[in-house]
């Protein structure tokens, strides 16, 4: 009896809690705080944070691999959807169903801003190499600059799954911090006059164009860069479900229940990869640092290209909208709107920023495809 109690005590989690695990539990509390109180992308950060918590409670075995005669843990099974690359495209399916590419179709040039704002990906990739990360790790870190959670998780799960937790946390945190990260850079690189530019109203976009758009992007994007296929294809399929007008049932489910279920599974299991032993390393600091770096340079890329387009268009394009090219839909576009309206009250840049904003999603998927093609 006493032995039995003693045995039970030695099998409590307390008795074998390492300080590293204790620290990770604190980290999970901070993440929960950021998600719940600061509302940092809570839909993903809260499940991620809870995954971090659960995986660092010793002996609970929620991430345990199955062994001879013993089944694995719940989150281990949920994690298979990340490992096999299933969840991110399904999230993208829902994102596609939620996204209106109309502003991009109305102003095709704005797609270039979505290209330029991928700069941070490659700059941070180089930076991470300099910090000593290997190529695959560096690519996964760089993709944080794509400001696109599913893309970052997809690429990292293929190239450097041991960094998943840190990269996902960095990606979603910085996305939430866009309103703090971007404005100083935007103001630094533009003149007051540029920021006050009022843009022409966008032309209306017909239903036919909206239906053709996802098909074209799928075909062209995947033909040029096959590795971008899973992300682009699912994003565009979701969008086709939305725009076709004949599959409302599927559209509704894709952008609601399906994406919600997958989000819960994805968040929990991505968080659960952040075990103390892999998370509490200097690498994580490097990731957090380079992630910020990536976001900053993506913004720089977008705004500078915005200035070029401003010049070439004879001052018709407000360079601020380049900042929205990082994607982080629709947060970055809102930031553009806010910064623009501060300079010139009543200047409604939001719809013009949505073009680069949604283009940024495509741009990041293409950039991920390039990295996968070379390093995958």
């Amino acid at each position: 009896m006493l032995e039995s109690i003693q045995e039970l005590i030695t099998t409590t989690g307390f008795s074998c809690l390492t300080w590293q695990q204790g620290l990770m539990i604190l980290v999970s509390f901070i993440l929960i705080y950021l998600a719940v109180v600061k509302e940092y992308e809570p839909l993903l950060l809260l499940p991620i944070a809870f995954g971090v918590l659960l995986t660092n409670l010793p002996l609970a075995g929620l991430m345990a691999e199955p062994e001879e005669g013993k089944v694995g843990g719940l989150i281990y099974y949920l994690y298979q959807g990340v490992k096999l690359g299933i969840y991110p495209p399904l999230i993208f399916l829902g994102v596609g169903a939620m996204t209106d590419f109309g502003p991009l179709i109305a102003n095709p040039k704005s797609i270039l801003l979505g290209a330029a704002a991928q700069l941070g990906i490659f700059i941070a990739f180089l930076g991470a190499i300099l910090l000593g990360f290997d190529l695959k790790e560096a690519a996964s870190i760089g993709i944080i600059g794509g400001a696109d959670g599913p893309t970052a998780i997809f690429l990292t799960s293929r190239l450097a799954p041991h960094l998943l937790g840190a990269i996902a946390i960095a990606a979603y945190s910085y996305m939430a911090l866009i309103p703090i990260i971007q404005p100083p850079i935007m103001k630094l690189l533009t003149t007051k006059k540029e920021r006050q530019i009022v843009m022409e109203q966008l032309r209306p976009v017909s239903k036919t164009e909206k239906i053709l758009f996802p098909i074209i992007v799928t075909v062209v994007g995947t033909l040029i860069l096959p590795d971008a296929g899973p992300l682009l294809g699912s994003l565009m399929f979701g969008n086709l479900l939305r725009e076709s007008g004949v599959t409302e049932r599927l559209n509704k489910t894709a952008q609601n229940e399906l994406i919600n279920i997958i989000t819960i599974f994805l968040g929990l299991s991505v968080g659960a990869t952040a075990k103390a032993e892999v998370f509490l390393t200097p690498q994580t600091l490097g990731i957090i640092f380079m992630g910020l770096f990536a976001f900053a340079f993506s913004t720089v890329g977008g705004v500078l290209f915005g200035k070029i387009m401003c010049k070439l268009s004879g001052g018709k394009i407000n360079p601020l909208i380049g900042a929205a090219g990082v994607s982080a839909v629709p947060m970055a576009a809102r930031v553009v709107q806010k910064v623009g309206a501060e300079e010139k009250p009543g200047n409604f840049l939001l719809m013009h920023a949505m073009g680069p904003n949604v283009a940024g999603v495509i741009g990041s998927a293409v950039a991920a495809g390039v990295l996968l093609a070379r390093l995958g």
Partner: protein
């Protein structure tokens, strides 16, 4: 690492080139597509279908419907009323 660095540099240049290449190509195809579609439409029926006018904003991920509705209400006052139905997919603007 020096070899890694040169690979990184190469990928930086090449990556941006490919991203631009794909997106520039998309841009031109989009333009062609829109030109064809709109010409076809204007030929087919010049006043038959009234296209949705004006503001084309995006309603995006994870946005509550109430917020949308609220912003839509505000927007409807801001916009010029020409008696033409305007469809609004709004992004709410946070402060």
């Amino acid at each position: 690492m020096s070899s890694n660095f040169s690979t990184g540099l190469e990928l930086l240049v090449m990556g941006m080139l490919v991203v631009f290449a794909v997106l520039v190509l998309l841009m031109y195809i989009m333009k062609i597509m829109s030109a064809i579609v709109n010409r076809a439409r204007s030929e087919a029926n010049q006043e038959n279908k009234q296209p949705l006018q004006g503001v084309q904003i995006v309603s995006t991920a994870y946005t509550s419907e109430e917020e949308l509705a609220a912003v839509a209400a505000v927007m409807s006052k801001v916009l010029p009323k020409k008696g033409i139905p305007v469809r609004l997919n709004i992004i709410e603007v946070k402060n």
